[in-house]
Amino acid sequence: MDDAGLFSGGPNPILLVVVPLGFAFALPLIGFVSKKILKYIPVGVFMFNLVVALRLLPLVLKQPILVEIGGFSPPFCINLVAGPVGILFSALIALAGLLVAVYTLVYIKEGPEEKYHILYLLLLTAATGVVLTGDIFNLFVFFEILCISSYTLVAYVGNRAGIESSVKYLIQGAVGSSLLLIGIGLLYGLFGTLNMADLARQIVSVGSSSAFIPMAFMITGLGIEAAIFPLNSWLPDAHSSAPSSVSAILSGIAIEVGLYAVVRILFTLFGLSSFFLFFVFLGVLTLLIGEMCAFSQNNIKRMLAYSSIGQIGLILFAFAIATAYAVTGGLFQMISHTLGKGLLFLAAGYMIVRSGSMEISSLKGMGKRMPLTALAFTIGAFSLVGLPPFIGFPSKFLIIRSALAEEALIFNILIGLILLGTVIEGAYFFRVVQVIYFQKENEHQKRHEAPVAALIPMFLFMIAIVAIGIYPKLVTGILDSAASELLDRVDYIRSVIQ
């Protein structure tokens, strides 16, 4: 156990997982004292997490931090690997969690609120656990927490659509996690370890044929949560019938964490080499299907949900190219999607509350009734489509440029298809924006803006979107080292097992 170099004075990354978990357990007790302060606890917890993650960020850029739980050395313990990727995602999760928690202060008014806050805390804690852990079975456990709290939050409203989509999501998700567990069992049988770095070290030495089957099981299992094309039929229902604050987290965080797990397993565990063209095609297919379905929707939340499928496709495409440039683009697009989709769902949430319907046509005149919320929606939409000066522009640009750098005919065709997808995306977002601003309402209604506590997180999202959009260098440095962490297996193995 060599202590030197493990810590350079920062806080312990395990706090990112343990502190929210502790507060989640304590919430019912706090509820006995006062019901009113319950909803402020997620805000406080994620503020703490954000501060810890931001303090760790400069440290891990120099050297990844290895956290050995229980005081044993890997592979005999569960370890967390707080590298650039893990801490970057933790910071993103904490940021989105914080902003959505502020929004929730006023948005969630009915139902078993105490349970909502516990589940919300645990959902994001589990997401943080997934991105930090360095143990494949621990990843499975955190994934289960993430899934189970998502099932429940989807059913939170308790209407028919919510329960139905929750049941659908639960059955598909449970089959997915069983497949993941079979994959883990096969890997353990083949290599006798569960530590990801140890597994990665041994998988090089065995021909890829025997590693392929466990990989297929694991990717299929995780693909359900990551909403990769043939496995995503649960997503539009689940994301559209959850409360809007939950949809923002499910779209912005949950599926991206699923995709992170897929990518981590492909790159670090199996050293993705020969299957990558398959994933490139799958990505483009997911993108096109998502965007085309989004185009044909009349329900705003379903439209946003399908648009998430499209974005996931784009991110998968970027990762599957597997050059340093493209992976940077994929990570950038993940940040851009979290911020953009979070903003869109939050804005749409209050527009739906005010208009009383999820139909796009009922959003007429929202530009006059709720100008600030409408502005937020517009910025989110423009950013997702990829217009400058918002964050979506540099991220999409990076992906396209990295695909062009491949210099193969097939990639040129695929880029054409992706641009087609972007055009479709632009078409349906502009249609909504046009309805919001330019269609006259029949009867004039008074201006009725969303409450301040809901506007503040939207503003912060907007500031982040514009700031990174204008000055992408804010994040590209971190993204570059994160991309190299994902691609460099040898370094990952060396940082865990000395």
Binding site: G158, I171, S178, Y188
Partner: protein, 125 residues
């Protein structure tokens, strides 16, 4: 001769056959049946199968259970404790998922009278 071959085959594969048999029957129930409770029964069988598979992976021939209840007995081979720990976790996770699924099924039936997955609105693409 044939008999001993069969015995040999069974010795090496019977647990795997049982585990994957359960996994397949479970998956088949989930894929083919429409009744929600039946599908959840399928999930439970699937989970049992996965657990059996994990334990079978950790077995070592003629090993003993990994418990030192008698300190004087030493140097006997013990079966791998890791899959057992994993399966303990998996069983608890399984019961959590099953209970949640059944509560949703009860809610769905009592409020909307649905127990058939075909009645759950088909996916609108």
């Amino acid at each position: 001769m044939v008999f001993s071959q069969v015995i040999h085959f069974l010795q090496n594969h019977i647990y795997y056959i049982g585990a994957f048999g359960l996994i397949f029957i479970g998956l088949l129930i989930i894929l083919v049946k429409h009744n929600l409770i039946k599908v959840i029964i399928g999930l439970s069988i699937l989970e049992t199968g996965v657990n059996l598979f994990l334990i079978a992976v950790g077995y070592i021939s003629n090993g003993t259970a990994p418990i030192f209840s008698n300190p004087s007995v030493e140097t006997q081979r013990m079966v791998d404790p890791v899959p057992q720990a994993l399966v303990l976790t998996a069983i608890v996770i399984g019961v959590a998922v099953l209970a949640l699924a059944l509560s949703l099924a009860i809610r769905l039936y009592q409020h909307y009278g649905i127990l058939d997955l075909r009645q759950i609105r088909e996916q609108k693409w």
